[in-house]
Symmetry: C2
Subunit: 298 residues, 2 copies
């Protein structure tokens, strides 16, 4: 018998790649399967539905000492950010809670209040869910969305495209990982007005996520470190590696740069938008920077 490979020996991406090989052929309704921010499936009327699941685990993604409202808010906001990353509007959520029995009912109610604080402004209906006992507190969110103008994928970037990020990067642990605003409004506007060639949200950090977008687009990339929009008191290294920024990373043809910047500043004057580099020919690949967050190997 071949020796077994411990999970700790491979990263999350490599594990997913191995699991995907075991899957049967998808149905014709599947437009985009695993690998992008969301799956995309075709509805019977031809429109595109987005499907996303996201899980947060005690001691991995949060500590139980945090206020339950913030934990609940984060759990749902992460999935909403993934719907935004495809240019979609979030619709219906299912919430699965695995609960240690030493928690109180009131604590779980406060967790739900936190989810409500994201659900309400973004028009998400929590339509169901499940609770089970467990040793560790776990919140798994499944969320559907509608990509009225067609889903924006990671895979449409072309060499020469301008690379952009919204907001600022780095320093998430100072609090931003609990209080970020999913970029639903901005992404939807981008999808209609400028149709980015590729888009994703930054959950694991630019150093981990940008190579994923470039690989999906079959390009390499070049970033000018000095142009990275830094969160106050953060270093360039933190901007690359802290993760949990939940900002949009996207590409556009270079010719729209001036138009996009001026239109953006008019519509979203309080949200920075920064060109940080370019997608490049695959052969020009720079060395991958170290870092970024991998759920198994970090």
């Amino acid at each position: 018998m071949a020796p077994e490979t411990p999970l700790s020996a491979i990263g999350e991406d490599a594990l997913v790649q191995r699991l995907l090989k075991t899957l049967p052929e998808p149905a014709k309704s599947v437009v985009i399967g695993p690998g992008d921010d969301c799956a995309v499936v075709r509805l019977t009327d031809g429109s595109e539905q987005l499907l996303k699941t996201d899980v947060v685990v005690e001691n991995v993604h949060f500590l139980r000492t945090a206020p339950p409202e913030k934990i609940g808010r984060k759990a749902l906001a992460r999935a909403v950010s993934d719907i935004a990353a495809m240019g979609g509007k979030p619709q219906h959520a299912l919430i699965t809670l695995v609960l240690p029995t030493d928690l109180s009912v009131e604590w779980v109610e406060r967790l739900y209040e936190g989810m409500r604080s994201v659900a309400e402004p973004f028009g998400v209906s929590i339509v169901g869910g499940e609770t089970a006992r467990g040793q560790q507190l776990i919140i798994s969110v499944a969320l559907t969305g509608l990509a009225t103008h067609g889903a924006l994928l990671r895979s449409g970037g072309r060499p020469g495209d301008r690379l952009w990020v919204t907001g600022t990067l780095g320093g998430s642990l100072a609090g931003h990982h609990f209080d970020f605003t999913p970029r639903v409004v901005e992404a939807s506007w981008l999808a209609i007005r400028f149709r980015p060639t590729s888009m994703m949200d930054l959950s694991d950090g630019l150093a981990a996520d940008l190579p994923r977008l470039a690989a999906a687009s079959n390009t390499a990339w070049q970033v000018v470190d000095d142009t990275l929009p830094l969160t106050n008191n953060c270093t360039i290294r933190q901007a690359w590696n802290d993760g949990e920024d939940y900002e949009l990373l996207f590409s556009t043809p270079p010719k729209v740069e001036a138009d996009l910047l001026s239109a953006w500043q008019r519509v979203f004057p309080r949200v920075p938008l920064t060109p940080i580099g370019w997608l490049t020919e695959p052969s020009n690949s720079p060395p991958k920077p170290l870092g970024g967050w991998d759920h198994f190997s970090s």
Copy 2:
């Protein structure tokens, strides 16, 4: 400050009732929110989509000593059974795995093989998912379905309706909880041919689930114990209480009884169908039998 209520002091149903109070008003697209086997939402073309999430937790729903193929099969088949319970066809699944790092990659691949063994025959496409580290092995499945002929709810039963169960009840721990066949085909046939007034699947046992169906229909119920279809070597008590039968429980107007029985036996000769009692006027409520499986209080 009011004293806090430990989770162990209330059952799963009571917890869910308290959490539901914290939710905002659902969008117009929500046909049925929490409380039935699945949520039902209206798609843009007017058709009804079913949404379900289901979780299995190590040491609660299975032991890790079980073959991983069986654990994976069960995790997905439970959600498929819930789609069947509404008369729907399962479509797209998202799989969330929380994995202790002492598992091997090969073990997780075998878990996925088990999910494939349900996905393939029932036309389910696994379109995405996520993996995270955790102390306990947890599999959370989110599944969409399509109720082409309109979802069959728990709430449409009327006093005088005949109560039916498919298959046999009891003895799930002897193996049936791993190898049951979700009643997708049978439920879909029922939805078209006989339009049950109410339907659900039996996951927690007749003793726990029948009162839920009756409550949703605003009726009471009467069951003739001697008519319960028992699994080999099982007692009537086991048929009520073992749980995890994953059979259909449904009601029809009494006048279709003979037609339904003869049509069923022609189409599904190998699956028993048994009339076990009636829905009754609310005031005739018999005492609730003890037992059934509650995830917190058991």
